[in-house]
């Protein structure tokens, strides 16, 4: 097995104690138990659904059919139906719409069923031949079968986790470093091939599953409702419904209204297309009061299906929530495409990852260390001004939007004379960080207007102990810079796990100020020669440990963000 090299990492930490392993095993067993129970439940339900396919399709007559009001908040109306059928010469009466499930939900949906199955109409029901008392008007959907694989993920995590905890050869990994690394490299090749696509597929799956009910449907209905007919209606009931959960109470607008369309009377209780509830009582109470006070408010009726009506149409801020599943879907699909392209043989050459992120081949090592760069090189900064600004702005937005939700909740409590002082105290440090991030974004925005440096090095790679020449020039108003320094810096960087987070420590082992000037002409453009010390370490980049060399420039500007850029360079082993 010559000519190949592998490059891996191991945590090198202590193996988990028996108590720790037992704790983790319990955790994974919980996963296994919950997954298994859910799987049993789903398989059982699917089995019944399949069994329904053997039920006999039988003519029936609808005896009664009406929409009834219920006390349940989430399904305030139910469709009460009874029908008569004959099986093997004997007459039966039943009231089942679906197996173990009465039809309940919004008034519009129930009304639609009542119109589909009016009293006196002949229809079909499905009768259980083994128990003719049992019948339904509609059979359960076989789509339930699609849910069967999902609990198996939890079962697999539970079993896999528990097995891995007890089967991991921790002691051997400590004593045999090279053999352990080779094993790990072979294993991680397989893992990385499947892990990323699986994660992106999960994103796409969740996004896709939620995209229609939460995203596409409300948006398309909002667009379609633009052509619905404006119709005066009469409000029958209007109230703010409260929904209690572990996270507190949320509220929703509930309005039942009646309207006439083409000579027929209809009822609906749809206020807007995006249902659900949220915190904030006052706004919803105002809406309810407005509708209570209105003599004949306008609702919008679908001319193709007059059961379909809505009070509030058009785009509003809440509809932006519909984009969330679409973002999930986009991340999943684009990630999958990216990963599959990277894994495909055709794309391999074009998108090779950095050396440190994949097993080394002998040729890679030679490429990394060979001194080839003799031509001049324009250096690229580690992070451009735009990258810093965008990164800081996104960071500030992300942080502050989350913090704002909590601020609004606490402010709401203060408005309703229910102040949470402890919540306020806990929140203050987060608000301070948010303000700091916002300040950082403003700082980076101002820094975008700084003079921009261009650095050119005499060689793309500098071997230890050899000389190089650096030249620089500024575009923009370089005279604003009062003092300018160039520093050659060598840093060791170590990445390690601490609990669940990854930490990175840095230590500067070499620092030489190559140039310092306050002369405007020399600041605008200049050059400096330097020698990389021969008795130090060359550039080195593994997955967790790195030796990084850079040329750092600093231009101080009074009353304005300084020009501060770091330009990575490659220092090679001694030329030989």
């Amino acid at each position: 097995m010559t000519g190949m090299a592998s490059h891996g990492s191991s945590d090198g930490g202590k193996p988990a104690s028996v108590a720790g392993r037992l704790g983790l095993t319990l955790f994974f067993l919980l996963f296994f138990t919950m997954g298994s129970l859910f799987e049993l439940f789903v398989v059982r339900a699917f089995w019944h659904t399949l069994a329904q396919r053997t039920w006999k399709k039988t003519p029936c007559t609808i005896v009664s059919s009406e929409v009834q009001e219920r006390t349940a908040r989430d399904a305030p109306f139910a469709w009460a139906v009874s029908y008569r059928y004959t099986h093997e010469g004997q007459s039966y009466t039943n009231s089942g719409y679906r197996r173990n499930d009465e039809a309940s939900g919004s008034y519009s949906d129930m009304q639609r069923l009542a119109r589909k199955y009016p009293a006196g109409r002949n229809a079909f029901c499905y009768v259980n031949p083994r128990n003719p008392d049992q019948a339904v008007l509609t059979r359960d959907s076989l789509a339930l079968g699609l849910v069967i694989p999902f609990p198996l993920i939890f079962v697999a995590i539970g079993i896999g986790g528990a097995v891995l905890i007890w089967c991991r050869p921790a002691a051997e990994a400590e004593t045999s470093i090279a053999a352990g690394a080779l094993r790990k490299s072979r294993k991680s090749k397989g893992k990385s091939r499947y892990l990323a696509p699986a994660l992106f597929a999960l994103f796409a799956l969740v996004g896709g599953a939620l995209a229609y009910p939460l995203g596409i449907r409300p948006i398309t209905r909002t667009i379609a409702a633009e052509s619905w007919v404006a119709t005066p209606c009469q409000v029958l009931r209007a109230e703010v419904c409260s929904h209690d959960s572990d996270d507190g109470t949320t509220y929703s607008v509930y309005i039942l209204y009646q309207y006439e369309f083409r000579g027929q009377t209809y009822k609906s209780d749809r206020y807007e297309f995006l249902g659900g509830s949220s915190s904030g009582y006052r706004g919803k109470d105002r809406v309810v009061e407005q509708y209570r006070a209105a003599a004949h408010p306008i609702c919008y009726v679908n001319p193709d299906d007059p059961f379909d009506a809505v009070l509030k149409r058009g785009f509003h801020a809440k509809l932006l929530l519909a984009l969330v599943p679409l973002i999930f879907l986009l991340i999943g699909v684009s990630g999958l495409i990216g990963v599959l392209r990277t894994n495909s043989p055709a794309g391999d050459g074009a998108t090779l990852p950095p050396l440190a992120q994949r097993p080394l081949r002998a040729s890679d090592e030679a490429d990394l260390l060979r001194v080839e760069g003799s031509g001049r090189a324009v250096l690229a900064p580690k992070f451009s001004g735009k990258t810093k600004f965008i990164g800081m702005t996104f960071g500030a937005l992300f942080w502050n939007v989350i913090v704002l939700v909590f601020v609004a909740s606490i402010a709401n409590g203060f408005q309703r004379d229910n102040p949470s002082w402890i919540g306020l105290l806990v929140l203050l440090p987060f608000v301070a960080v948010g303000l700091g991030l916002a300040g950082g974004a403003v700082y980076q925005l101002l820094a975008l207007f700084n003079p921009r440096p261009t650095l050119e090095l005499s060689s793309t790679v500098i071997p230890l102990g050899t000389a190089a020449e650096l030249s620089w020039s500024f575009s923009g108003q370089a005279r604003r810079i009062d003092e300018f320094t160039v520093t050659l810096r060598g840093v060791e960087e170590a990445k390690y796990r601490q609990g669940t987070s990854t930490c990175t420590d840095r230590n500067t082992f070499h620092e030489t100020e190559l140039y310092r000037t306050s002369n405007a002409g020399e600041i605008a453009s200049g050059q400096v020669g330097f020698v990389v010390p021969p008795d130090t370490m060359h550039s080195f980049a593994a997955e967790n440990n790195k030796i990084l060399w850079s040329l750092d420039i600093h231009g101080s500007i009074k009353g304005w963000p300084d020009v501060k850029e770091s330009f990575p360079i490659t220092v090679a082993p001694v030329a030989g």
Partner: protein, 127 residues
């Protein structure tokens, strides 16, 4: 006699880049050993999670219970053996047998100076 051993020519432990490392491996094991593996590799020690780079591995199938074998590996240009405040990089030869957990490791230095490079601390470590 030790079960596994790595003996370097002239007991030399420091090498320059591109030099060839020569030596002998010896083993005195129970019967039933399927293969021995000799690896030339580097690994990191210190604060960071360990990285390992295996440069070359030689496999000796059906070696018998007792025996010896000469080996030689050409060394690459780097990375050099070094020691800093956070990271140390160590070169080594490692001999393992299968089946079994017997392992022997012999550390060497790869550096143009004949000593590991010591990295000074220009300022305090930042986090």
């Amino acid at each position: 006699m030790e079960k596994l051993s790595i003996i370097l020519e002239q007991d030399k432990a420091a090498f320059a880049p591109r030099e060839t490392i020569r030596g002998t491996i010896r083993w005195n094991l129970d019967a039933g050993i399927r293969h021995l593996e000799l690896s030339l590799f580097w690994y990191t020690a210190g604060k960071g999670t360990r990285d390992v780079g295996v440069i070359e591995t030689r496999r000796f199938d059906e070696p018998g219970a007792v025996g010896w074998k000469d080996f030689s590996f050409p060394l690459p240009d780097g990375p050099y053996s070094f020691s800093g405040k956070l990271i140390s990089l160590i070169w080594a030869l490692e001999l393992t047998c299968s089946p079994g957990s017997e392992t022997v490791r012999r550390e060497i230095v790869l550096s143009p100076t004949g000593h590991e490079i010591l990295l000074a601390c220009a300022n305090e470590s930042e986090r």
